[in-house]
């Protein structure tokens, strides 16, 4: 097995050496949206043709890579400083895992190949009044013949300007308790009545969007799971994909992130600096183990109810502490990097921007506070807080 993995590593390494676009960081810094989308789609197609775009999907859908191989793949991509698939992220992770877990055969046939052809997805979950308390969402979907008519407003929809399709949570039963009246839809973003507006974030980018929905008709065939069972569908798939998305991010943290941090730290033999670096290396190592175990246990149906939350919380806070230290170590010069390449995630190497961008990991997807509550209640069985409902 070890030899097979070594062979696989050599194959990926060779592929990376000839395929990772040279100098993409410079050429992608300060570009417009069109160029960003073109570049991301071209890179996705390149990865897909090598079999590296959706390694975590089942084999019948062009995936089927073992967890050990995925880890090697992500290590090599990170080591060769390959761009991340930021635009395809929701499609290959959230949309795919939802369709695989709860979609109909027809929905899978319609969308999984399309995602491989570059279909872009956005997640329409949060709302202005439904952030951490997501289940209190108000966007309504009213049955009207063969369709649902949707009205409301979604917020923090990353990639909303480029998306072809949206994963939408909307309330189908306003009378039911809040978790029992929500349904899960697939929404075609070209449907009339949709207005998308970008929101500029703290690092100056505008990938987060508001989506306004005004009498938007969704065919009833685009319901995922049963009516009013959307909350269960969302819960089931969010946890399952957490580990898989983390597998890549953790290897990025361990490779690009930590190596750059070592490079940013001078003098390297300063005892205080060395101590901080070693602590980060240790924590990354522990996180790698946790993440791998989460993915393997999820596959085997053995994951604990709070395991995904532990990984998300630890990853995002470790990222924040590491980028903070990088910003401190790289001094005033780091403040002259005024923009970062759009196709990088947090791992742009611009420490100040990356540190500011780290709140994009501690706030969304269930903030650190929500994760701690989940860990306490589901992981340790502590009593729930008194609820308003």
């Amino acid at each position: 097995v070890k030899d097979d993995l070594d062979d696989f590593r050599a194959t990926v390494r060779q592929w990376c050496e000839t395929h990772v676009p040279a100098d993409w960081r410079r050429s992608q810094t300060g570009v417009g949206d069109d160029e960003f989308v073109r570049f991301q789609k071209a890179w996705f197609a390149e990865l897909h043709s090598a079999g590296y775009a959706v390694p975590h999907w089942p084999s019948e859908w062009d995936g089927g890579m073992s967890v050990a191989e995925q880890i090697v793949l992500y290590q090599e991509l990170a080591a060769h400083d390959a761009p991340r698939l930021v635009l395809a992220f929701v499609g290959i992770h959230h949309a795919a895992s939802t369709l695989l877990a709860a979609g109909t055969d027809e929905q899978r046939r319609r969308h999984l190949p399309a995602i491989l052809d570059g279909e872009i997805w956005v997640q329409g979950f949060s709302e202005p009044e439904a952030g951490s308390d997501l289940a209190s969402l108000r966007t309504s979907a009213r049955r009207d013949g063969d369709s649902y008519l949707v009205n409301g407003q979604k917020l923090w929809a990353s990639g909303g300007m480029q998306a072809d399709w949206c994963l939408l949570l909307a309330r189908t039963d306003p009378e039911a308790p809040k978790r029992k009246g929500i349904s899960y839809f697939l929404l075609d973003m070209t449907t009339p009545g949709i207005d998308v507006r970008p929101i500029r974030n703290a690092v100056g980018e505008s990938h987060f969007c508001e989506i306004f929905l005004n009498d938007v008709a969704i065919p009833a065939d685009n319901l995922v799971g049963a009516e009013n069972e959307g909350w269960q569908v969302a819960q089931a798939t969010l946890g399952a994909e957490r580990g898989l998305t983390m597998l890549e991010l953790v290897e990025r943290l361990g490779n690009a992130g930590f190596r750059w941090l070592v490079r940013a730290c001078r003098p390297i033999d300063d005892p205080v600096v060395a101590d901080r670096l070693a602590q980060f290396e240790i924590e990354i190592s522990g996180l790698r183990g946790l993440c791998r175990e989460l993915v393997e246990n999820t596959e085997a149906g053995l994951a604990g109810p709070a395991d995904a939350s532990i990984v998300k919380l630890y990853y995002s806070e470790l990222l924040q502490r590491m980028t903070d230290f990088g910003a401190e170590m790289s001094g005033l010069a780091a403040h002259t990097e005024l923009a970062k390449p759009l196709s990088s995630g947090w791992e742009s190497g611009s420490w100040v921007l990356d540190f500011i961008g780290s709140w994009e990991w501690t706030i969304p997807g269930g903030s650190s506070e929500i994760q701690r509550t989940i860990i306490g209640e589901r992981g340790l069985g502590l009593p729930r807080e008194p609820s308003a409902v």
């Binding site: 880890i71 060395a274 240790i282 532990i310």
Partner: protein
């Protein structure tokens, strides 16, 4: 029966045995349970298993804050003897250790050999007091580490705040050495591995005691009522418990990786340094939170949380502080011979 089922069984037996009454567990009981001879080859009367099984016992002893001579007598004693070239005297001693007839302790450093005479002063030697046979590691006249039987040395107990551990000073004043054993294979590597083994053993103990304190705290937070509801329903308490679980989970990953590296017989240096430094530091944090979340009761002698805090603090200082282990790890960052980049890219998992 799978490997993991055997481990679960061993864990459950150890947990039952160690949780009975007094925290002091005497040597005959440990021998009877078969834990002393776990790593002793079957032909010498042992179980012929690996450090992975020893680690399970260590973790359970941490959980129960067990007072025993297991660290010096089994983990280090057997670990040292099995690292030696076979010989009649070594094999005989190993069999005596497995049968419970002889209890050993190991002086990892501090003593010097000149010709066949041993001298020097070693401190904080685990379980040296009352040991039947002391084994000392020292360099021979060619500078190659060997193991000698340190008879006729002075052993003086060093009382420490943690009453669950027995430590002692060992002083050798130019005493004649009757037995000299050579390591099997590269001696320096074997000595390195014994240090790693000691560090990981303590990390296992710290993991176990942190788990015990997390469980005790969560149980207490579920039943202790204030302001008309269980304190565990308050975010401040719940989130502190969540942080304890996260720390314990990370510690478990690092400890498991180090135990696996030692059991496999490969180079465990990096994994051992990571496990020792993280788990032993985290355990102090976790026990500290346990004391805090138990409130006034937690600070009483009666509650026993102080026993765990003292043990966690001692563990943190034994066999290299977290800072010392991090310093060792950090040496790799500026190393020119083995580029850090390639070594790191492939990870430790």
């Amino acid at each position: 029966v799978t490997y993991s089922e055997v481990h679960d069984e061993l864990r459950s037996v150890a947990s039952d045995l160690l949780s009975k009454g007094d925290t002091a567990v005497d040597w005959p009981l440990l021998t009877q349970a078969g834990w002393i001879g776990l790593e002793v080859p079957e032909e010498s009367g042992g179980a012929g298993v690996t450090f992975a099984e020893v680690a399970i016992i260590l973790e359970q002893m941490g959980r129960a804050a067990t007072r025993s001579a297991y660290l010096g007598g089994a983990v280090l004693g057997v670990g040292t003897l099995t690292a030696l070239q076979p010989s009649a005297s070594r094999d005989g001693l190993l069999a005596d250790v497995a049968s419970g007839a002889v209890r050993t302790a190991v002086v990892l450093d501090g003593l010097r050999l000149a010709g066949n005479r041993l001298s020097g002063h070693a401190t904080f030697v685990p379980d040296a007091d009352g040991a039947d046979r002391l084994l000392a590691i020292a360099d021979d006249s060619d500078g190659i580490p060997v193991v000698v039987a340190a008879d006729n040395v002075t052993v003086t107990p060093q009382p420490v705040l943690d009453e669950t551990r027995s430590l002692a000073e060992v002083t050798a004043e130019d005493v004649a050495v009757k037995e000299v054993w050579r390591f099997d294979g590269a001696a320096a590597d074997q000595v390195r591995r014994l240090h790693d083994r000691a560090a990981v053993a303590v990390a296992c103990d710290s993991l176990g005691l942190a788990e015990a304190m997390l469980t005790a705290t969560v149980d207490y937070a579920k039943v202790r009522q204030q302001f008309g509801r269980p304190i565990g329903s308050f975010q401040a308490v719940k989130h502190a418990c969540a942080d304890m679980l996260v720390q314990v989970s990370v510690a478990r990953q690092l400890v498991n990786a180090a135990v696996e590296a030692l059991a496999d017989g490969g180079d465990a240096r990096v994994a051992a340094a990571m496990a020792k430094s993280y788990a032993c530091a985290a355990a102090v944090d976790v026990v500290g939170k346990a004391m805090q979340l138990h409130g006034g009761i937690g600070y009483t002698w009666e509650s026993g949380i102080h026993v765990y805090l003292k043990r966690a603090l001692l563990n943190r200082s034994l066999f290299g502080s977290p800072a010392e282990h991090r310093r060792q790890l950090a040496k790799r960052y500026s190393s020119r011979e083995t580029p850090f980049r390639t070594r790191y890219a492939e990870g430790t998992h």
